[in-house]
Symmetry: D2
Subunit: 135 residues, 4 copies
């Protein structure tokens, strides 16, 4: 059955913090991507198999920040496949700590053929069979 969401718990690493004493905002996009790749693995896929002809460039992404994360905080990442079109996937992501909202984000990726030049293509059926938009 196709997967439409993924959750994992993670701890803030020292190198993710900045001089303001909190996680640098650029890391939230990496946390969201970690969840994406884990969802694909859980679905039996890799988003970047060796020597693959297709790729998944990011088209747009955003985050809204509500509360900061600090060194050694444990937090939860919940990623949901919000929408799938013929050629794109849009995720929505929520970060929480002890059930308090930390941040929420979204990311849209497109399926492309890499060669001869990068060009948008339809998502292969074997991938659409394993990942689907949730309700």
């Amino acid at each position: 059955m196709a997967l439409s969401e993924y959750r994992f718990r993670r701890r803030v690493q020292f190198y993710e913090t900045d001089v303001a004493g909190i996680v640098h905002f650029s890391w939230f996009f990496r946390y969201m991507e970690e969840a994406e790749h884990a969802l694909w693995r859980e679905a039996g896929l890799s988003i970047h198999p060796p020597d693959s002809d297709i790729g998944w460039p990011r088209i747009a992404t955003s985050f809204e920040f509500v509360r900061p994360l600090r060194f050694e905080d444990e937090f939860d990442v919940h990623l949901r496949v919000a929408e799938m079109t013929k050629k794109t996937i849009r995720y929505e992501c929520t970060l929480t700590k002890n059930d308090e909202q930390i941040a929420s984000g979204s990311m849209t990726i497109a399926c492309v053929r890499k060669k001869p030049t990068m060009q948008g293509i339809e998502i292969p059926q074997e991938i659409a069979d394993r990942i689907r938009a949730g309700r």
Copy 2:
């Protein structure tokens, strides 16, 4: 006179690329922030002076990606102060390479008093005197 924009040229570093052969998307947010801090310096300010009582957490940010950047590419970052309210600043940012659009982003920051607990405050006058929204 108050500053409302900043431009700089930068080169892609090796450690900013990923196995897809392009700059990892999380770096665009760092490029935008580099421009922000350079704008503040150009305006005679630091966004994080030692022992300051106030801070500037990021409230929301987004990017749309049009073309990739690759190792050693030179590109231009143009940051503009799009809006200033009593308590927030919103930037808009464009990345280009040889006048071709690479990506465009935005970022909203808020002025906060750090202690005793983090709380939104009005932007100090000496900062509002040096940074202003462009037209």
Copy 3:
């Protein structure tokens, strides 16, 4: 009983790779530090408690690289406390994948009092009681 080593398994994240298709070498130092902080937690300590008067700057570190790591590889990090002097701790670290050696590193940290100026001090007894050099 004082701890002298720590092991954990970890997966290579996409943003840790570079255009050469392998993990960028700067990440190995972060993997080693992740193990260090996990060892401290396992020993009931934090290397950076909020508002602590002491700190642990890195004095020297090195790595030798034998085989590369690639996207989604799982690998093992083994950190050992190789030596403790009155004021410093030296770790040795080995990374392996399926029992094949990937890299080996070392790191020496010093205990410092942060204020009024940073200065080396003796390691507090409550820390020395919880972390010790292995044989």
Copy 4:
């Protein structure tokens, strides 16, 4: 004439700092590599040209840290080609701020043929003609 050293000045970025208020030690290796790649460019080369058959994996690297760097500090990086063998290059690197020593490092890289399997090869003559060990 072959190049044997390179110097550049750089400013600490916000995202390079950590919660201890200083540049995270993993960044020093990236600063050293920035200098390496700039030296190669100055010598008319790229260390990673598109579609190249050869690569330059890092074999060993180390740093000793004397003084910390902080947000917005300007510092100087001096990289020197300390030794070239038939198949390897060893660099030495010094970081200073206002002529005070910050840190010193070294890095050894090897020339490899990438396919069919990664294997050490002799440094191509056109590269040896442009980069040489200093005295």
